[in-house]
């Protein structure tokens, strides 16, 4: 179990790197990776808490809200909307898909991922 949560966080960090590298050349790629980076970070914490990871996206968001707070659900929802637009085009335009917005959400996601690492360190 310990290995699982560390692996998940490592993948999350790799994905965050990919987001930063692609943000100016391909907004779509970075948006897609951003959702999964945040998802991996949250899954890492769920493993750490020895809880089952829901397979359904929405149930994962709900569990993140229950374990970590509303801001996790809200960010998941925005990132998913952005990812849907990046992957499929004119869909879920609840959030604007542009570099500024991707950057802002990357900052939020990295900040929450950092908070998760601190939580895991404190709760160990």
């Amino acid at each position: 179990m310990e290995k699982n949560y560390l692996n998940e966080m490592k993948i999350a960090e790799e994905f965050f790197d990919a987001v930063r590298k692609n943000i100016n050349s391909s907004g779509r790629t970075s948006t897609n990776r951003l959702y999964f980076a945040f998802e991996k970070a949250v899954i890492s914490y769920i493993y750490f808490k020895k809880r089952d990871v829901p397979k359904n996206h929405q149930k994962l968001w709900e569990l993140s809200s229950e374990l970590l707070g509303k801001e996790y659900y809200s960010l998941f929802r925005v990132l998913y909307d952005l990812r849907m637009q990046a992957d499929y085009g004119n869909i879920s335009i609840f959030a604007d898909l542009n570099i500024k917005n991707i950057q802002e959400n990357l900052n939020k996601a990295e900040s929450l991922a950092k908070e998760l690492k601190l939580r895991m360190k404190d709760e160990k």
Binding site: N56, H57, Q58, K59, E62, S65, E66, K70, R77, Y80, M84, N90, I91, S92, I93, F94, D96
Partner: protein, 267 residues
């Protein structure tokens, strides 16, 4: 009384949904209709402007006439297709539609995607058709979407496009702006339940949670009583009747029971 009804229905469905020119032989083969009744039905449909019949050498080619009258045939078949769907999809669609009704920009709502085709699906796709369905309009639906997602645990994808024939055929038409909003006292109570349980979901760590939770139980109790032809005289009588059947200890259990009752109510 229109003659050859069975063959005519099959032929109209085939021609309208595939919207391509094809020979009578092919239509007979695909629809498995009898030759005589198929020819008679095609003759009648052609004479009355429901299909186009074009001579091509020795054979006749058939294509649909697309106008508001033949489109009514699609809507008619769509209503059967919708009513035959999984009860959960019907519940979610009708809750979604209740939030769209009255929004004049939306002329039609189409249900499409995996929820139509597969038994297991992760999301439900709605296509809104109309004019001026811009980002601000879509953003105005975020509360409705969040309510459905968080109460029923399913992701809602909202797409938007112009109202045109091509888009009408993307899936099943589940709403048109001419639809009536039919809400009896049971459905009224169910929508109140949804409002309160959504408040409970959003305020799980707040002191307002218990009020929202209790109110949602109360509304759902009335739904259950009315569905079972029981008219309680007091609130506690309603809740007692409901709790005799369902033991609910937490929000997740209430969501599950609410979904089950909703499926029965909107089937």
């Amino acid at each position: 009384m229109i003659k050859y009804q069975k063959s005519m229905m099959k032929i109209m469905e085939n021609v309208l949904f595939q919207r391509q020119e094809k020979s009578i032989e092919k239509i007979i083969q695909e629809t498995k209709t009898g030759r005589n009744s198929a020819f008679s039905a095609i003759n009648w449909l052609g004479k009355n402007g429901m299909i186009k019949v074009k001579k091509n050498g020795n054979q006749n080619l058939i294509s649909p006439v697309i106008d508001n009258y033949t489109l009514n045939f699609k809507y008619y078949l769509d209503s059967f297709a919708f009513k035959s769907l999984d009860s959960f999809v019907k519940l979610i669609s009708q809750v979604f539609i209740s939030g769209i009704t009255g929004k004049t920009k939306v002329k039609s709502v189409i249900l499409f995607g995996s929820a139509l085709k597969e038994k297991k699906f992760n999301d439900i796709d709605f296509l809104l058709l109309g004019k001026g369905l811009d980002t601000n309009f879509i953003k105005s639906l975020s509360d409705l979407r969040e309510k459905i997602e968080r109460v029923f645990g399913i992701i809602i994808n909202i797409h938007q496009a112009e109202l045109n024939i091509e888009n009408i055929f993307t899936g099943i038409v589940i709403y048109q702006s001419s639809y009536f909003e039919i809400k009896d006292k049971i459905k009224f109570q169910y929508f109140e339940f949804l409002d309160w349980i959504f408040e409970a979901v959003k305020n799980q760590s707040s002191e307002d949670f218990q009020i929202a939770f209790n109110n949602s139980v109360l509304n759902l109790s009335y739904v259950y009583c009315y569905m079972n032809n029981f008219n309680p005289e007091t609130k506690s009588e309603a809740v007692g009747f409901f709790r005799n059947k369902y033991k609910i200890n937490n929000l997740n259990e209430l969501k599950t029971i609410g979904g089950e009752i909703g499926k029965e109510l909107f089937k």
